[in-house]
């Protein structure tokens, strides 16, 4: 069972996170924490010349394998998409990519990065936030 959860792709993203780093002068940025695990994620976005398309994304942070691996996967998913496309991206799309059975507690780990990215885009572009994160300037999942 533990092996199912920590399948190879998760461990690979955890150990070799994609898009890991800090971006100076990002066009959009947000950070969030999951107080339960103490997971922390910051996400930085640079837009293309059209001001809509995500040209480059980076994340930094620390936390459990699920939170860091899922954020790493998210980085690969969102490059080339527009802010409004990501605002409309259902959480299921990321969870499908993560592809492991998650308890409600670990679901928060897996969705931290997506929430932070949506908050960053909301701040920069005013894109809508899902109801559960509405009104947040800094994401704190509880």
């Amino acid at each position: 069972m533990a092996e199912d959860l920590y399948r190879e792709v998760i461990l690979d993203h955890y150990k070799n996170p994609r898009g890991h780093g800090v971006m100076e002068d990002a066009d959009a940025q947000a950070e969030g924490v999951n107080p339960l695990c103490g997971d922390e994620v910051s996400i930085y976005v640079q837009f293309a010349d059209d001001g809509e398309t995500l040209e480059e994304v980076k994340f930094s942070g620390r936390g459990c394998a699920i939170s860091q691996a899922s954020t790493s996967m998210l980085m690969e998913m969102v490059v080339g998409k527009t802010a409004s496309e990501i605002a409309g991206l259902p959480k299921e799309a990321l969870l499908e990519e993560v592809g492991i059975p998650l308890t409600p507690v670990r679901l928060k780990c897996a969705l931290l990065g997506l929430g932070v990215l949506k908050v960053a885009l909301h701040r920069a572009k005013g894109t809508p936030l899902p109801d559960e994160w509405a009104g947040l300037d800094e994401l704190e999942l509880t």
């Binding site: 069972m1 533990a2 092996e3 959860l5 920590y6 461990l11 107080p35 339960l36 695990c37 103490g38 997971d39 922390e40 620390r62 936390g63 459990c64 394998a65 699920i66 670990r106 780990c109």
Partner: protein, 414 residues
């Protein structure tokens, strides 16, 4: 079995009192190593609560009928048991609350709001659970008082040499500390802190939630002014806790919750408060839960609190030694002979939640997180730790399984 720790109580036999161990988790026997967060409940406690509901249920201090008298007797009997358990001089000094958190909030609001102001200081410790940290931080901010923190040393023990520094720029009015740290198992020198607090003219508020289940408590010997406990950590039910407070302070205090039962006279113009302890028990109390707490105290007394403590310390010593032998494991907190049955550790490169998840698949339950002690985690420069904690029903085989599970985790994360 690798471990053959000698214990002064028969944990294997006591386990039979706890129905929860009659199940398997993921096809394996349950190794419950998270008693610091909440304990399991023996049949004796469950039976006492069921019996109360089936034979004596009524509201207390209300009716003149037999059933209400019976309920009142059971409820007040539980209060006496709590008073005896902490060696309170007067049973009226014991107030039932929802849990230790509410007990500490009661003091922070009912005492703090009316006695703190600019120029005053509240001193808490770096080892505090948020329940004895956040209410004081909040009350200091509300009243304009200063808020200071007493730091820990490398072993996770309080550095008392920082006390005078903490008191330098104000009048210390409150010193708040736990008797046993829930995160590290450190046993704090409350007697010394209380003496220092009183020398400053301050009150000493003790969070005893982690101590009461495992460590003999004598509020008079501790010299504190308030002591809070939670039933659910000591074999009792959730939903009830208790505050012991020094009578003259409680009597001078304003009430906390307002409403039914806590009054003396209610007139349109004004209301006067009831006597202790009723002044602080507005509304219907958790009656069956209090009866359950009383039964839990009977159970702990029967097993013997000293035997429980000795048993847990032996298990903690074994766990510290065995975990310390694993490559990449960092242990936190004081040496085995100066701590309660709590072992906090980290495995290099693996987040505690991942360790706990793998252990769960082996049927081993440990806590992974910040343990409601974020200031301490900051001091230790970690986001979280793994924590194994023991109780009277913990057995050495569970430490074997913990160690095996940690080794398996390391293998998965290779």
């Amino acid at each position: 079995m690798v471990v053959t720790a000698r214990t002064s109580l028969d944990a294997q036999k006591l386990r039979a009192d706890f129905p929860i161990f009659e199940q398997e988790i993921h096809g394996k026997p349950l190794a419950y190593l998270d008693s610091a967060v909440t304990s399991q409940k023996p049949r004796q406690v469950l039976d006492a609560m069921r019996d109360f509901y089936e034979t004596s249920n009524a509201n207390v201090h209300r009716g003149v009928y037999t059933l209400s008298e019976r309920a009142t007797e059971a409820f007040e009997g539980a209060r006496q048991k709590v008073a005896d358990f902490v060696n309170a001089p007067d049973v009226r000094e014991v107030i039932f609350t929802r849990q230790a958190t509410e007990a500490l909030n009661l003091v922070a609001y009912a005492w703090g709001l009316n006695n703190l102001g600019p120029g005053d200081l509240v001193v808490v410790t770096e080892l505090e659970h948020h329940s004895n940290f956040v209410p004081w931080q909040y009350m200091a901010e509300k009243t304009g008082a200063g808020f200071r923190m007493l730091h820990v040393n490398e072993d996770g023990e309080l550095d008392l040499s920082g006390l005078d520094e903490a008191a330098r720029d104000g009048n210390v009015k409150v010193v708040a500390a736990n008797l046993v740290s829930n995160a590290l198992g450190t046993i704090n020198p409350i007697e010394k802190l209380a003496a220092w607090a009183h020398a400053q003219g301050a009150i000493m508020v003790v969070d005893g939630a982690q101590a009461a289940p495992h460590h003999p408590v004598d509020v008079q010997a501790l010299g504190c002014d308030f002591f809070a406990l939670s039933a659910h950590k000591m074999c009792g039910p959730t939903g009830v806790g208790a505050l012991w407070g020094r009578r003259e302070i409680l009597e001078a205090m304003e009430p906390f919750n307002l409403g039914g039962h806590m009054i003396s006279k209610v007139r349109y113009e004004s209301t006067t408060w009831g006597e202790l302890p009723h002044k602080f028990e507005a509304g219907t109390s958790p009656i069956a839960e209090a009866v359950g707490l009383g039964a839990a105290i009977d159970y702990l007394n029967e097993v013997g609190i000293e035997a429980i403590e000795a048993h847990e310390q032996e298990l903690a010593a074994v766990a510290l030694e065995r975990l310390g032998e694993i490559e990449g494991v960092t242990l936190y907190g004081p040496p085995a002979d100066r701590r309660a049955g709590i072992v906090s550790f980290n495995v290099e490169g693996i987040h505690p939640h991942d360790v706990a998840q793998v252990l769960d698949s082996e049927g081993v339950a440990i806590r992974a997180g910040h343990h409601c002690c974020q200031p301490l985690m900051t001091r230790l420069a970690v986001a979280a730790t793994n924590r194994a904690s023991f109780y009277l029903y913990s057995v050495p085989e569970e430490i074997d399984r913990l160690v095996e599970g940690v080794q398996k985790t390391r293998k998965i994360f290779g």
